[in-house]
Amino acid sequence: MTWIATSTACKNTFMTLVHLGQLDITYPFLQAGNLQMSQLQFYIAGATLTIIRTNAIMLASSIDDQFTALCGATYAGAATRQTAITRMQAILVRDDNIVSNLSDTINQLYVFPA
């Protein structure tokens, strides 16, 4: 899946990262897809992996919560809150993953209202 403005998953990924303080709203959406995890607010590059994983778990939980509470998202297929948090955290902790990788995973986990 490419990073495009007409994708609901991409749009909701971007806006939720903004609302969770990971990105500024004035950062161009089209460039945001290429941002590495280490360029988001939660990822502290000089910290040990234990701390990065802590921040990633908190962020993954918050992303899931905002998708369901604000966006009205439901889980796709056999996905659950548990699996969604676990899978998103796995993407977040790798500093060479990019935001569009996260959006790809989100697209597999959630169904957003049209």
Binding site: H19, Y27, A45, G46, L49, M58, A69, C71, R81
Partner: protein
């Protein structure tokens, strides 16, 4: 200074391999160099020295190599990609610039259980990380760590109030408008609309506590000093999303940056950032030296000892300049041997403190600073860095 080209040097062999393999096109991957014609042997040697002294050359070559492996051997690619390798230059005060690399690998298996406002996690994690310098004497952070960790953790709160259908419709309309303004490049409008969208978001404070049992193998880069370190760590995190509660105001490191955000116009009021609340860990290690000639010379033995350790980490948005975001990050680690003998104290090996800080922009530019020493470092050092962060993933898209 690096030695001149000769057929026995590692760097010369690297140049030959790159040329023969044909998998690295120097002209495409490194800044174009105008070659005077004709070039003497000395000029060719100087050119090669310049290219082979630049960590960007190795980073580009590695990225190109990974891109090739991704096509020919997906399984090998997955393993190599998990091993995050970054070539860089160490510039410690009082020491010449040293080419080297840092590496990190991690893999984890996590089980999650959610109950209402709470979530529990059990995970098994394998981490490998460290710094290696071409010349070991110039390595300012000479510590390689291989760690297996079992973590049991608990997450509470961070719940966002569910919107009514009418509220959701209104929120979606405003949020989509902010998004469309961003895509259209109208950032002032995007900012204004997003402020309205945020008013719909009511989230409770979020708290995290994790208990980790870990077993580490620590060594310097030439393995002349080694030790096995089982230990217990407690790590803590919090996100004060509810601005009406007091926790947010305990985000002390963010006060100067909240002021900078106000002064630079990034924020229209003095606002602390909930997302940047510091994280930390604290614990006890039981260190079992395996090979340590320095310690043996000082104490006459390699008896095991206990070590206290803690770490605090912080990162916040410093400013928004045009479309680029500047982040400030800092991390401090402290290790202290408990009940150290006087010989260890006199040798200044009873405690270690290591501080790193960086300002990094979303376009990749960064300035970094590191000070102190880690276990196995025999002297304090101050190291600065300046450069561009490469996204090695570019070659796979």
């Amino acid at each position: 200074m690096y030695s001149p080209l000769n057929f026995t040097s590692v760097r010369n062999m690297a140049a030959i391999v790159l040329a023969i393999a044909g998998s690295f096109t120097a002209a495409a991957q490194v800044p174009a160099v105008q070659l005077p014609s004709p070039m003497s042997v000395n000029e060719l040697q100087k050119l090669a020295d310049t290219l082979l002294s630049d960590p960007a050359t190795y980073n580009d070559a590695y990225a190109k190599f990974l891109s090739g492996v991704a096509t020919t051997s997906p399984q090998l690619y997955k393993t190599l990609r998990d091993l995050n390798v970054n070539f860089k230059t160490f510039e410690a005060t009082g020491q010449p610039a040293a080419l080297g690399l840092d590496y990190s690998y991690q893999n984890s298996w996590t089980k999650t259980r959610v109950t209402g406002n709470n979530a529990g996690f059990q995970s098994y994690t394998l981490n490998f990380e460290g710094n290696i310098a071409y010349r070991k004497a110039n390595n300012p952070a000479n510590l390689l760590q291989s760690t297996f960790t079992y973590t049991s953790s608990f997450l509470h709160g961070g719940k966002t109030q569910v919107l009514t259908p009418a509220e959701r419709a209104r929120y979606t309309q405003i949020s989509d408008s902010a998004f469309n303004a961003n895509v259209a490049g109208n950032m002032a409008l995007a900012k204004t609309l997003d402020k309205k969208a945020i008013q719909f978001i009511q989230t409770s404070n979020q708290y995290y506590i994790g208990i980790n049992g870990n077993f580490s193998y620590e060594t310097n880069q030439d393995f002349s000093r080694q030790q096995f370190v089982p230990g217990v760590l407690v790590n803590l995190g919090a996100r004060p999303w509810n601005r009406n509660e007091a926790l947010l105001y305990f985000n002390l490191p963010d006060y100067p940056f909240a002021l900078i955000r106000l002064l630079t116009g990034t924020s229209d009021s003095f606002k602390l950032s909930p997302a940047s609340f510091p994280s930390g860990l604290i614990g006890i290690d039981h260190v079992m030296p395996g090979q340590d000639s320095v310690r043996r010379a000082l104490t006459g033995n390699l008896n095991a000892y206990n070590r206290f350790r803690c770490e605090f980490a912080f990162k916040t948005q410093m400013a928004q300049i045009g479309t680029e975001t500047l982040f400030f990050s800092a991390d401090y680690r402290y290790y202290r041997e408990l009940n150290a003998v006087s010989a260890i104290k006199k040798a200044d090996m009873a405690k270690y403190g290591y501080f790193t800080a960086a300002i990094a922009a979303t376009n990749g530019f960064f300035i970094s600073y590191a000070s102190g020493k880690l276990p196995f470092d025999q002297r304090n050092s101050n190291t600065y860095g300046l450069g561009i962060h490469y996204n090695l993933g570019n070659f796979k898209r």
